[in-house]
Amino acid sequence: MNFKEVKKLFRDEIDINLYVPLSQKLEIDLTYAIYEKEKMILIFGEAGSGKSFLIKKIFLNLSEKDDNDFKLYFIANPFEEEEVIDELFLLESEEHRVVFIDEAQTLSDEKIERLRMLADNKKYTIILATHEKEAKKIFAKKHFQSRINYFINLQPLKLDKIELFINSKLIQNNYHNIASLFTKSNYKKIYKYTKGNLREINRLLYKTFDIIDYFQQNYPQKVSKHKIDNKYIEMAYMDLKGIDA
């Protein structure tokens, strides 16, 4: 079993090929809101709850379609792409524009205000993905309350969703044999240590597979062929938490 390759699936980076559709309803709702040309959509949740994955996936889905009557923009990091935002303000066109802004918490109050004004022109749909605290701040402003019709709160995964997430990721990439090694006890352990946070799940599994790979290379007798030993998950957690060996 090639654990070295498997661990790459769980790298902490946004690779849309590794996207796991955990809530299709959420995707449909969001896409519908974009087609309805809503002014502002706010997606919020804890760090690592899958906001970036979700908006990137929808952005790509819409990009693939030829019959859109709007233009799409994606700003992954507004802090680094300030010029793009500035350009948006200068654009004058009758065409509708859909702007996805990830990490919206890095936007200044002034920029957010200007984005609101853009949305008021009815030519823009602004989709802001931000942390929970920032979302509350934005919504606290009265003039935003009437303009944001869609709030999408991304909650941490529950135990059954963790199982779905791991299995889907492995099976999508043809690692059926490794997916079958996971037991209920493994999922419970993963849930205990990550509390359902997608980023934490990825980090923990990346480390777990790295450890298993090491032991498989050096002490193959220690690695079970029938299941993932909880020992390796615990060791990965200890390593990530900086519990020194």
Binding site: K231, M235, M238, D239, A245
Partner: protein, 236 residues
């Protein structure tokens, strides 16, 4: 050594400590449990439960011993056992007074009728009550008041209560003597000793008339007894 190997060692060390903690926790819990059990055993059994149990034992013994008797006799025994003897002495005395007034002419007839019943009872009860093994263990070398009190706390029996009552009487602690006579009477109201000592105590307290009435009450309820009759003669 690779850091993952060190990590593995650390993992096992943590696991060992975890199990050690669980082990000690369980040992402590068990230790506390056993200490509590021993503490309960060491405490003298003075609770009402034991007395109640003894009562129940006596009543069941009586009923069992009377199983061989005829049906009317069993009914009689039940009545006697349930009848509150010493605690309601005054009531009893009133009742006996009324009876005495009514049956002054029939005084001799009633005891005569009951004589054979009592004899039959004692004949059958005695062999069962005599359980040598128990008595040998229970009997102390010297029957001092404290040793008897200790014995009674361990196994509350009629004989021990009577002995305690007698000792208190000898020490002229009449109130205590009456108290223990009452305890004995509750266990076996049909036995004469408790009545006898009770009457003796009343005599010692210059309550001659009351003592007389108590003795007559016994004779009327349980029939003739030579010891009771003797004491009654003395009083007269």
């Amino acid at each position: 050594m690779h850091r993952y190997e060190k990590l593995e060692k650390l993992y096992y060390r943590k696991l060992y400590l975890k199990y050690l903690f669980i082990f000690f926790f369980v040992v402590i819990i068990l230790g506390v449990f056993f200490v509590f059990l021993n503490f309960e055993k060491k405490q003298p059994i003075k609770s009402n439960h034991v007395v109640k149990a003894a009562k129940e034992k006596n009543t069941t013994k009586n009923i069992e011993s009377n199983k061989t008797m005829s049906i009317p006799k069993i009914k009689e025994v039940k009545k006697l056992v349930l009848y509150p003897m010493f605690p309601d002495v005054d009531k009893l005395l009133k009742e006996t007074n009324i009876k005495q007034e009514k049956n002054t002419t029939n005084k001799v007839e009633k005891p005569k009728k009951q004589e054979p019943k009592i004899q039959a009872k004692t004949e059958e009860v005695k062999p069962q009550a005599k359980e040598p093994a128990l008595k040998i263990i229970v009997k102390p070398a010297k029957e001092t008041l404290s040793s008897l009190l200790y014995l009674y706390s361990k196994s509350p029996e009629y004989d021990i209560a009577i002995k305690i009552s007698k000792l208190y009487y000898q020490k002229k602690n009449f109130d205590k003597s009456i108290e223990w006579a009452k305890k004995a009477n509750k266990m076996a109201p049909e036995k004469y000793e408790s009545w006898y000592i009770f009457a003796q105590n009343l005599l010692a307290q210059n309550q001659k008339a009351k003592a007389k009435q108590v003795l007559i009450a016994y004779l009327n309820t349980y029939g003739n007894d030579k010891h009771i009759l003797k004491l009654l003669d003395k009083i007269k």
